[in-house]
């Protein structure tokens, strides 16, 4: 990696942090629950990208594992939150509801 590419990646990491901060404002000020959920999901994607770029900058390939874990954990957290707010439970598929409540 030449120094030019290194500084280029540093600038990219700064831009990703800036977009994380902008997404944070939507998370703090979002009017509805779903706006906040969308902002958290997008924030997680940007964190994954930041971790990948950052690992290249500091030359430590372990961090990509954490990025991989995030990419999965972010998805699981989003789906869990949606399930909670739709059904008030996590194990909805295990039971049959007699009334169509949603």
């Amino acid at each position: 990696m030449t120094p030019f590419i290194g500084y280029f990646m540093l600038g990219s990491a700064f831009l990703i942090i800036v977009s994380m901060a902008m997404m944070l404002t939507r998370l703090i000020g979002g009017p509805t629950l779903y706006d906040r959920l969308l902002a958290v999901n997008s924030f997680g994607t940007k964190t994954v990208l930041f971790l990948c770029v950052f690992c290249f900058i500091i030359g430590r390939p372990d961090g990509v594992d954490i990025a991989m874990l995030y990419a999965l954990m972010n998805f699981i957290a989003t789906i869990a939150v949606l399930k909670f707010f739709n059904y008030r439970a996590l194990n909805v598929t295990l039971m049959v509801n007699d009334e169509s409540e949603r």
């Binding site: 902008m22 779903y34 969308l38 997008s42 994607t45 998805f75 707010f85």
Partner: protein, 136 residues
């Protein structure tokens, strides 16, 4: 195939530094990195600004969901151009695969939940489509 090309590029970069000739493969890798990274950052920033500025939930959702997926894939491709080892390439491809699968799924789930919960879009002069049964 791609990783073999990149490995060959790393080897060629080492030999080229000894003979002081122009390192064409390294140059190509850098150019690919820069083009892909700039495009990806453009999409990511456009999606973020869209989430900040657009008027209602569903338009924010389309900005975030669509551009984030494309921008993330492009940034990961830019990193793949720069990686030296096969292990790194495979890890980054795995991250890209996960993001490609999970990000549209999460966006769809959020949109579905919001629609079911009765979040109404700001329509202006258009009218809401008459949907009785949405096939869930």
């Amino acid at each position: 195939m791609m990783s073999a090309f990149i490995l060959f590029g790393a080897v060629a970069a080492d030999t080229a530094a000894v003979t002081h000739s122009i390192d064409w493969v390294g140059l190509l890798r850098n150019v690919g990195t820069i083009i892909s990274m700039v495009t990806g950052l453009f999409f990511v920033m456009a999606g973020t600004i869209g989430v900040l500025r657009l008027p209602d939930f569903f338009t924010r959702l389309h900005a975030a969901g669509m551009t984030d997926t494309l921008g993330a894939e492009l940034i990961l491709i830019a990193l793949i151009f720069q990686s030296d080892s096969l292990q790194m390439v495979l890890k980054l491809l795995l991250v890209a695969f996960f993001l490609l699968i999970t990000s549209p799924t999460a966006t769809h789930a959020i949109a579905h939940a919001a629609y079911k919960a009765g979040v109404k879009p700001v329509l202006g002069k258009y009218s809401l489509p008459d949907v009785e049964e949405d096939g869930t």
